[in-house]
């Protein structure tokens, strides 16, 4: 029986080659695209789900509801975590993690190593696999260091690493560690990946009594039977005692309690969803909407391919009716027939999946590059996605046609009394659904692209085109590197000015960001401000506009400029009360004096409003980026000179300079990806929808051949016929547009909410989207209708 089914399936597919091609092609594309998108989304949802204690693991963060809104931060003071472990029942284990880095000198080579300083509890919380060394005593010694497999290989090659001494050098000096173990690398779907682990006591600024230094994150493992809510309740009691002063200050300054009654609280966030906790400021966190959008677009495209399949199968169902009738006469039962047709659907889907997989294999390298993924065709994400897709497609594309086909009554079929509806409401509905999805994506793509264009072109308040930013690295101290480069480049007039800063503008090629917020009390109010370490010529180099006072001034040898003087931005001036603020003494520790005010510029991404910033030539702040303003001629030559000068200053540190406009572009990588996905998504949805329309046109014309012939004989013109055949379809597309446009408007308004700086919703985009869809649909349909209209009417009538 199975062979009979297979034979008949293959032969009917071969008989209707155009429809088979449309189905297989559509399914292959839909399966390939959704496979990639689903795999990416599954990976996002799988972050850190491999820890055995996964459900009990949580990150700790501070919640602060101040007068300017809610602030959440995972930066904790050093004594906090050990105290929580001791005082809060239900916290079974805890660890602090301070991310840091150091240089390691091996065989005269300087290698950088990322080191996380952690507590011993780390290994009782997270899963790890010891490759070398003894489990249980990994960090029992204060001078022990645990290496990841990759670091061990990089530092020691194939030699045994355990027992080797490592000399780590950073800005504070050099310290020796003994390698106690090598553990397997965490998979790339972990936020906890590390190069090396050392004891927290070795961390920069470690002081068990210092409650003012918020410089690390913390994780807890809850004991069995305790849940997050009950622990957070205990934390509330704890914070009300330990942070009494902070709470009082916040309330005094107008902090508003949130729904849970807190202005200030310690809260927990489950590790499993930390990947999506961008509200608590994780650098690696992403918006959860992103994977959901991926899944949605994948489902859209799958749905469109399935709709094509359903419409084509139903449209040509009459050709299978005799077979159904006969099989029933010979004793086939309804379920058997449904099974048979379902099997045929599955066969087409499998053929589509095969081509889809080939397509995936082909585009995977460029796709991975776009998403910085390393999905391989053999990865579990791909196979689980494939299973989900096959199941969904089989269900969506197979069920209804199988039901309809198996419904034919033997008696009716054999008496030739079967009537197939010419244009079923279902077909129209499905076409509308297809075009709703297509128009939704087209309009969204247009809005996203407009917003990105706006982000790219918005003046940021500083010169981003001519200023180069060079990450300094750890080999040479920042100020020294700046002085050396200044003197080496002094002879070249193309270098217009040079400065440095502790916080890059945008995201450099080193991919790092560094943020420091300082809070102090001024005139009985708490003032929070970004604190950015800079050097002379900062204002000139970035071409900031000075509104009041003066920039830092080395000519007049004002010694105080390197110790006391600060520049502030407009927002900070407003916080200080506005008006003329130059000369104001800030109650920082030590005190500082405002010498000038610069106009607000976007030192943060455009998703955020410009906040208070204070700039100081502060010796306590490492300068990490050198800023070079260049003349706009001879740029390649100047770049070469800078590079060779850099090679002399820091021979073992790569020259990874980038212009600030590249850096600010890099801030919108996520938006760029979103835009790419939407562009490809809308292109494919419209392509597949039109493929379906094309097939519908072919079928309709076949069904109406006689009518077309009679109309022509009676004097209808070609344009009459084309209009008659196209108008029905265009009406459906128009209805789809009326449904899709409000949806797109709503979705895009939501999306734009994420940007502080955003475009006004461009209404013309929606008209353009609708027009595009209608135009493409018209071209698709008219291609067939013109052919039908031009055909000789005698032929059409003979057909009958």
């Amino acid at each position: 029986m199975f062979r009979n089914y297979l034979k008949i399936a293959v032969r009917s597919l071969l008989k209707r080659k155009v429809f088979t091609f449309i189905n297989v092609f559509g399914l292959a594309i839909a399966i390939a695209v959704s496979l990639l998108l689903f795999s990416t989304a599954l990976r996002e949802f799988s972050f850190d789900n491999f820890h055995e204690n996964g459900n009990a693991l949580h990150a700790i963060y501070f919640f602060e509801s101040g007068p300017n809104g809610v602030d959440r931060s995972t930066n904790l003071p050093i004594p906090l975590v050990p105290e929580l472990l001791e005082e809060v029942a239900g916290i079974e284990q805890a660890t602090r993690i301070q991310n840091s880095g150091a240089n390691v000198e091996i065989d005269d080579q300087l290698l950088s190593l990322s080191v996380d300083y952690v507590d011993e509890g780390y290994f009782e919380m997270f899963d790890y696999e010891v490759l070398e060394g003894k489990a249980g005593e990994l960090l029992s010694d204060k001078s022990a260091i645990v290496l990841s497999e990759r670091s061990a290989k990089r530092l020691f090659g194939d030699h045994k690493a355990v027992g080797e001494m490592l000399k780590l050098t950073d800005s504070r000096g050099t310290k020796s560690y003994l390698v106690s173990a090598v553990v397997a690398d965490y998979p790339d779907n972990s936020l906890l990946r590390f190069g090396a682990l050392a004891r927290m006591e070795n961390a920069h600024g470690y002081d068990t009594d210092n409650w003012n230094n918020y410089n690390h994150s913390g994780y807890v493992k809850l004991s069995k039977g305790s849940d997050r809510e009950s622990i957070e309740e205990q934390l509330q009691t704890y914070t009300s005692k330990q942070f009494e002063e902070e709470i009082a200050d916040l309330k005094r300054d107008g902090g508003v309690a949130d729904a849970r009654g807190d202005v200030f609280a310690l809260r927990l966030h489950p590790l499993r969803t930390l990947r999506f906790a961008n509200h608590i400021g994780g650098v690696n966190a992403i918006n959860q909407v992103f994977p959901i959008v991926l899944i949605a677009i994948g489902l859209f495209i799958l749905a469109i391919a399935c709709i094509n399949f359903v419409n084509l199968t139903l449209g040509s169902s009459i050709t299978r009716s005799t077979e159904v009738g006969l099989r029933k006469v010979f004793g086939a039962r309804r379920q058997q027939l449904m099974g048979q047709f379902w099997g045929e659907t599955l066969l087409i889907i499998l053929i589509g999946a095969l081509f889809g997989l080939m397509l995936v294999q082909w585009v995977l390298p460029s796709y991975n590059a776009l998403f910085r993924n390393n999905i391989t065709i053999g990865s579990p994400y791909v196979w689980s996605s494939l299973l989900i897709i096959l199941f969904l497609t089989g269900l969506a594309a197979g069920t209804y046609p199988a039901w309809v086909l198996s419904r034919f009554q033997a008696a009716q079929v054999l008496k030739r009394e079967l009537r197939i509806q010419k244009s079923g409401w279902l077909r129209n509905l499905l076409v509308i659904v297809q075009f709703v999805l297509s128009i939704l994506l087209i309009c969204s793509t247009l809005v996203i692209n407009q917003q990105i264009k706006y982000l790219r072109n918005k003046p940021l308040g500083f010169n981003k085109e001519q200023v180069l930013s060079i990450p300094i690295g750890r080999e040479v101290e920042g100020r020294k590197a700046l002085e050396l480069l200044r003197s080496k480049m002094a002879a070249y007039p193309e270098v217009l000015s040079m400065s440095a800063c502790s916080r890059n503008l945008g995201l450099g090629r080193d991919g790092s960001t560094y943020t420091s917020v300082v809070g102090f009390e001024q005139d009985d109010r708490v003032i929070d401000t970004y604190w950015i370490g800079v050097d002379y010529d900062y204002v000139e180099t970035l071409e900031l506009e000075l509104l009041e006072g003066r920039p830092f001034d080395r000519q007049q040898e004002r010694i105080s400029d390197t110790t006391r003087a600060v520049l502030i931005n407009e927002s900070m001036a407003k916080q200080l009360g506005g008006g003329a603020v130059a000369g104001t003494i800030l109650q920082t520790d030590p005190r500082s004096e405002v010498v000038g005010v610069v106009r607000d510029f976007n030192f943060q991404p455009l998703t955020q409003e410009i906040e208070s910033a204070t700039f100081a030539i502060d010796a306590g702040f490492d300068l990490t980026y050198i800023l070079v303003k260049m003349a706009d001629h001879n740029i390649p030559v100047t770049m070469n000179r800078l590079e060779s000068a850099w090679a002399e200053i820091a021979p073992r540190t790569d020259f990874r300079a980038s212009f600030l406009d590249e850096n600010t572009d890099r801030l919108y990588v996520q938006e760029d990806r979103m835009s790419t996905i939407f562009s490809i998504g809308s292109l494919l949805t419209i392509l597949l929808s039109c493929l379906g329309l094309f097939a519908i046109a072919v079928m309709t014309i076949l069904q109406r051949t006689k009518e077309i012939g009679i109309r022509k004989v009676l004097g209808a013109s070609v344009s009459n016929i084309v209009r008659m055949l196209s108008v029905d379809i265009l009406r459906l597309v128009l209805i789809a547009g009326l449904i899709a446009i409000p949806l797109a408007w709503l979705a895009m308004s939501r999306w734009l909410q994420d940007f502080y700086y955003r475009i006004d919703m461009p209404w013309w985009v929606f008209l353009l989207g609708l027009f595009l869809a209608m135009f493409i649909a018209f071209v698709t349909v008219s291609f067939q209708s013109i052919r039908a209209a031009l055909a000789n009417p005698i032929k059409a009538l003979k057909h009958e």
Binding site: I8, E323, R327, V329, F330, G331, L414
Partner: protein, 229 residues
């Protein structure tokens, strides 16, 4: 073998109600060759479909092989049908995507005949119908007469006790029509009961009884004087 009493079939659409069969009483014994005749729309095919258990009557009794089957659900009818009844249609109703061999084999797939026996049986009936040399051809490659011979082969492949033929010669020229009628007569001689709907008095004479229908009612029943065979 077949007995109906007050058999009624009514078709309803939204606006009209058509009575296709109106209190039909017939009785057919095993081994008979009965022709049903009458003008178009008199209910011949409807009667044949009900007798063949493809359709259910709207009322009355239908006894098939001593079972009252008028109200049988599709599942039970289908079981009776596939083991006992063979069908021959005016328009052959061969499946275009299947070869001659596969078309003939099809009914046996539903009676669960083992593959080896199927092959032997298909070859046997194709031989009998003189179609063995065409076993790998597809219906479109055959003439009308050849197609109907394949359809007859398919109807007899499960050795049914009853063959229902709905205008089997309607689409054939006279010589091919003659061949089909001779085959049916031969099958009847071997003991198969045959009920045939036909417009042609000539074909009806191959049987031994003619039932005439008009407006869904039996008007006459005559025995046939055989002179052809």
């Amino acid at each position: 073998m077949i007995r109906t009493k007050n058999l009624i079939k009514v078709y309803r659409t939204e606006e009209v109600e058509t009575t296709a069969l109106n209190k039909v009483d017939i009785e057919i014994q095993p081994g008979e060759f009965v022709s049903i005749m009458g003008p178009s729309g008199c209910g011949k095919s409807t009667l044949l479909n009900i007798l063949g258990l493809i359709d259910n009557p709207s009322g009355g009794e239908y006894h098939f092989m001593d079972e009252e089957v008028a109200t049988y659900p599709e599942r039970k009818r289908s079981n009776l049908r596939k083991h006992n009844i063979g069908f021959i249609f005016q328009s052959f109703n061969l499946i275009d995507e299947l070869s001659v061999f596969e078309n003939v084999e099809l009914p046996m797939l539903y009676t669960k005949v083992p593959s080896k026996d199927r092959k032997a049986r298909v070859e046997e009936v194709l031989e009998k119908m003189n179609m063995m040399h065409r076993r790998n051809h597809f219906p479109q490659q055959l003439s009308g007469g050849q197609q109907q011979r394949v359809a007859v082969a398919r109807a007899i492949v499960n050795s049914p006790r009853l063959i229902l033929a709905d205008e089997p010669t309607g689409n054939l020229d006279s010589s091919n029509g003659d061949d089909v009628m001779k085959t049916l007569a031969e099958l009847n001689n071997e003991g198969t009961t045959i009920i045939m709907v036909t417009h042609s008095p000539y074909c009806a004479e191959f049987g031994n009884r003619v039932i005439r229908l008009l407006d869904g009612q039996v008007v006459t029943e005559n025995m046939v004087n055989k002179h052809h065979v």
